[in-house]
């Protein structure tokens, strides 16, 4: 926005490019952690969703088996970050201030989806709600609300 440093930032120009081209993978692969976790953004039936592709390394309980609670937190937070990067004009990775996760059902050993909704966007702070599900979108397995700082004072 008003920050002139953004013009020279490689990530900011990548974000601007991806907003136009919708080649989301370029962005999610540019962040080491989301690339490692298999978290990507996809356009499914005209809607921008996040997907965490199942991999054995995401398991927290081998007996059930169930996804690690931390991986669901990671998916929810990443979905909020990508929603803010792609749907607002922020040019930096937003900084999380607080994150509250409700774990509703155990995550099965399969792909998990998430959708973030920006409930309020101010100049410096954004409030985001996120839900994650697997087979049935009406039965979420985890939800979160998070606060992000969009720019340095």
């Amino acid at each position: 926005m008003s920050d002139t440093n953004l013009a020279s930032s490689p990530l900011a120009s990548l974000v601007r490019e991806v907003r136009k081209t919708r080649e989301y993978r370029k962005l999610t692969d540019a962040i080491p952690y989301t690339r490692y976790m298999g978290i990507g953004v996809e356009n499914l039936a005209g809607e921008m969703l996040c997907r965490m592709a199942y991999a054995p390394k995401l398991i927290g309980n081998s007996l059930l088996p169930a996804l690690h609670g931390g991986t669901l937190g990671a998916l929810l937070e990443s979905a909020a970050v990508f929603e803010l990067l792609l749907q607002t004009d922020t040019g930096r990775v937003p900084k999380v201030i607080s994150l509250t996760v409700d774990f509703l059902r155990s995550g099965k050993a399969q792909d998990t989806f998430a959708k973030a909704l920006i409930t309020r966007q101010g100049r410096r702070v954004a409030n985001v709600r996120v839900e994650a599900w697997q087979d049935d979108r009406t039965r979420p397995i985890a939800s979160a609300h998070a606060l992000f700082l969009l720019a340095e004072p």
Binding site: S9, L11, K57, L58, T71, G73, I97, F103
Partner: protein
Amino acid sequence: MSDFNLPEDKAGRLARCSVFYTDVVPHNHALGLKLVDIGPAEATVELPYADFLVGNPETGVLAGGAVTTLIDASCGSAVFLKLGRFAPLVTLDLRIDYLRPAQPGNTLTCVAECYRMTRQVAFVRALVHQGDTANPVASAQGTFMKLEE
């Protein structure tokens, strides 16, 4: 179910709880989490800095998701220690406040304490720091539920 009881001595308890970081929980092992100390209801877990955990490639700051996993794992261990045995647990909720950015390159240490246990619900708080507990990176509070009884 007696083999799910934790040993009485500290070294034995530390060794038994460590298998959740080395063998039993693949994601703990994948991120490089290490249980380094325990108390009667406390667990101290380290997350060494690694390039694949970076969430902001411009600053090198670790992703929040990795910190969430560190806190969730530490809190679960604190509940087992308070119980004195392994029981099936689920995380009900977890709230994390990020107090300052983590310094890139440095290990994150989480100290979790199960400060209250009822018949079914365990209440846990945790602090994440990088060597100075007076200047923490994150503060967290969570609730866990026992699946048995």
